[in-house]
């Protein structure tokens, strides 16, 4: 497959692995956080850590849209489906995330909630057109990648003057999450989470560009290499990060130049700015309440805001006590450090959100890498 196979070439990988091993200085260790779940997935799926020397370690970041969604937000969606009689449209990944009272959207569907999986916001709009007598709510989650399509759906709904369509907006912002991690005591004071650099987001960066990361590189002296989601992209980025660390540089470099520019996608940014404004604060799973880290729908488009329309209030719900998702999302713990990993918490019966999406650190390790934890 063109534009795919080239980036999964095993021979090129060997060459890169050799270069990485040669460049990494044996007397020091390198710890890089891949922010995005897409990178986490690629690392696990292609067995990439097998190709890295032991002193180069990857720390999984919080960039999995499903993982960072707190229970309270899923509860709101379930409430809409079970008690407000709406057709709730959602991306497939969100269906299995555990919520309060042992529920999930999947289980709410089995209890009679009209919950439909969609691939695109446009599918949700079409469902609203096809069911004019029903209220249709799109459960909008994700980082900057999925935000423009939501903005577009709202603009389209406004143009068509649709009265039965609204959006439960849970869109979050990448730079705010990176700041939160860099400001955390584990990174700043205690040094329990050593981060020597970041692999920067792929798809998010196609929208926001590489400019927003320049602040982190300068302010926190952390190199950032923006990389695509293919395994060779990740290898190349690791090589570039090692070079920066060795040379004492902390710059933003762009490995994913085939899709990411410094300024990003201006049209997409304009649409987002037209429809959304910053939320004063938003609770993330793992990162707790982060100021100005999420978006809400502007007053002008308030009639498409499910929170306003159904007069919903967010209620914070604590995670299961045994679940280490929070620490895993901050890079403090690895999936295999969690007591319930692979026993009580499995992809079939996830306790925490990181075990749900294939981009979640726990699901990726369970599905692809857990053989490494076993003694032969």
């Amino acid at each position: 497959m063109k534009y795919i196979d080239e980036f999964r070439d095993g021979e090129v990988a060997k060459t890169l692995a050799f270069k990485i091993a040669r460049l990494a200085q044996p007397e020091r260790s390198y710890s890089f956080m891949e922010f995005c779940g897409g990178h986490t997935h690629a690392i696990s799926r292609y067995g990439l850590s097998d190709l890295l020397p032991p002193n180069v370690r990857m720390v999984h970041g919080p960039g999995c849209p499903v993982c960072v969604l707190p229970i309270g937000r899923i509860d709101m969606a379930i409430d809409l489906a079970l008690h407000q009689g709406v057709i709730l449209c959602t991306y497939g990944d969100t269906l299995r995330v555990p919520a309060s009272e042992g529920l999930s959207l999947m289980k709410a569907k089995a209890r009679g909630g009209d919950i439909r999986m969609v691939y695109s916001t446009l599918d949700a709009l079409q469902i609203a057109r096809d069911n004019p007598e029903r209220k249709v709510v799109f459960f909008a989650i994700g980082f900057e990648t999925t935000t423009p399509p939501t903005a577009l759906a709202i603009l389209q709904a406004a143009q068509e003057q649709m009265r039965n369509f609204s959006v439960l907006c849970c869109h979050v912002l990448t730079p705010a999450a990176i700041s939160q991690i860099l400001e955390s005591p584990e990174v700043r004071q205690w040094g329990t989470v050593p981060i020597d650099g970041f692999i920067g987001p792929a798809h998010v960066s196609t929208v926001i560009g590489s400019r927003p990361y320049e602040f982190f590189a300068e302010e926190y002296r952390k190199p950032v290499v923006i990389a695509g989601f293919e395994p060779l992209d990740v290898m190349q980025a690791i090589l570039m990060l090692i070079a920066q660390v060795n040379e004492g540089r902390a710059e933003v470099e762009n490995e994913f130049a085939r899709a990411v520019s410094r300024d990003g996608n201006q049209k997409a940014q304009d649409r987002v700015a037209e429809v959304f404004e910053l939320r004063r604060e938003f609770e993330w799973r793992g990162l707790s309440v982060v100021p100005y880290s999420a978006l809400m729908i502007r007053e002008k488009y308030g009639s498409f805001d499910a929170e306003r329309r159904f007069k919903m209030d967010y209620k914070s719900v604590p995670d299961n006590k045994a679940c280490e998702c929070g620490a895993i999302l901050r890079g403090v713990k690895r999936p295999q450090d969690c007591k319930i990993f692979g026993t009580v918490c499995t992809p079939e019966n996830p306790v925490g959100s990181c075990m749900v999406s294939s981009e979640g650190a726990c699901a990726a390790h369970y599905s692809y890498g857990r053989y490494k934890d076993m003694t032969p």
């Binding site: 070439d9 990988a13 067995g47 990439l48 992809p347 369970y366 599905s367 692809y368 890498g369 032969p376």
Partner: protein, 354 residues
């Protein structure tokens, strides 16, 4: 005096007619549906007797009483018609294959239909004709059946359950528990065709893939494999859950592990592209006309040649081997050079594919 002949019954309106509750009520309408549609297309001496059950001769193989293999399969695929097939032929192939992978020669089929009130008789006729064609091509008659009608909204057009019976020669033991370390794992062709063909037709997906379902009856191919006398440990058709789930099933049954080679697994470029686009893994996508063969290593070359000599096995390939592993992991050497688990399917990749 009416011109209409005595005893005239207005035939079923197969163009515009629809299933209604009377078609399942046990009265004349039901009898008419059965005779004008089911027995007309599926008809044979057993079905034609019209009794509550079919009386079948005792199974004999080489002059001795033979063991029977029986298997049943429910079919709820949506959409009912898809590129390369429909629920009718699928319901025949699915059950025939389940009987055949046990090593048995399929002899008879039974079919149960659950119809939804309002279902177009024209579509029902198309489905029954397709079933009849598949059964006829396979040389396995549908000897008994049943029809029920549920109220509108209580079904989804049509569900079909088929049951198959076959005879198994003495001494032939195939099964998921017979696999041993050192055995070789083969597949008869490309993975994921059926699931992607179904996916390409689903209403909320607007991509058009020129891919057809691989639905096919495999007992002919299996007979050729068995005729070689090779030590085949296990045959299985990787339907729901795809190759990955089926191999995990076998690994668990036999208490072994497996190591697959990603590069060796045949996947059509169009299927790979569609899966890439949809975020699916072709190893988990369903097949309806493919076979997994696990055999002693010494027999692998011969069996591979036999597979490739058959029209349903031209793309057959050796994809990996069985190894000792107390954790029963199915692992994969990725084309990239790393190693990973090929786990059970978690959740539901594709709803209602068979």
């Amino acid at each position: 005096m009416s011109e209409v002949k005595r005893g005239y019954v207005r035939p079923l309106d197969l163009k515009h007619g629809r299933v209604d509750m009377t078609h399942g009520s046990g009265g004349r309408a039901m009898v008419q549906l059965i005779s004008e549609l089911f027995t007309r297309h599926l008809g044979n001496a057993y079905l034609g007797q019209g009794n509550d059950g079919a009386v079948l001769p005792a199974a004999v193989l080489n002059g001795k009483p033979a063991r029977l293999v029986m298997s049943t399969d429910c079919h709820v695929v949506s959409p009912l018609f898809f590129p390369g097939g429909d629920i009718g032929c699928l319901s025949v192939h699915g059950t025939l294959n389940d009987v055949a992978v046990m090593g048995a020669t399929p002899l008879y089929l039974a079919a149960g239909f659950i119809l939804e009130e309002g279902f177009a008789l024209a579509e029902l006729a198309r489905i029954v004709e397709s079933m009849a064609r598949a059964a006829n091509d396979a040389g396995v008659p549908v000897v008994t059946g049943d029809t029920k009608v549920v109220e509108r909204g209580k079904g989804d057009g049509i569900f079909i359950t088929t049951t198959g019976v076959g005879v198994l020669p003495d001494g032939l033991e195939l099964g998921g528990a017979r696999v041993r370390p050192g055995d070789v794992v083969m597949v008869s062709g490309s993975m994921g065709d059926h699931g992607v063909a179904i996916m390409s037709q689903r209403e909320n997906l607007t991509f058009e893939a020129s891919i057809e379902s691989d639905t096919a009856a495999l007992h002919g191919l299996i007979a050729k494999l068995l005729a070689t006398g090779a030590d085949i440990r296990c045959l299985r058709d990787p339907t729901r859950g795809g190759l990955a789930s089926t191999l995990n099933e076998i690994a668990g049954q036999s208490g072994v592990g497996m190591m697959l080679q990603e590069k060796a697994i045949p996947i059509k470029p169009v299927v790979a592209a569609a899966c890439e686009f949809l975020g699916l893994d072709p190893l988990y996508v369903a097949n309806e006309g493919k076979l997994i063969v696990i055999c002693a290593a010494v027999d692998a070359p011969h069996l591979l040649a036999t597979l490739r000599a058959h029209p349903l096995g031209v793309d057959a390939a050796v994809i990996g081997e069985v190894m000792a592993d107390d954790h029963h992991f199915v692992q994969l050497t990725t084309a990239f050079g790393g190693r990973r688990i090929v786990d059970w399917l978690a959740g539901d990749q594709l709803p209602r594919i068979c």
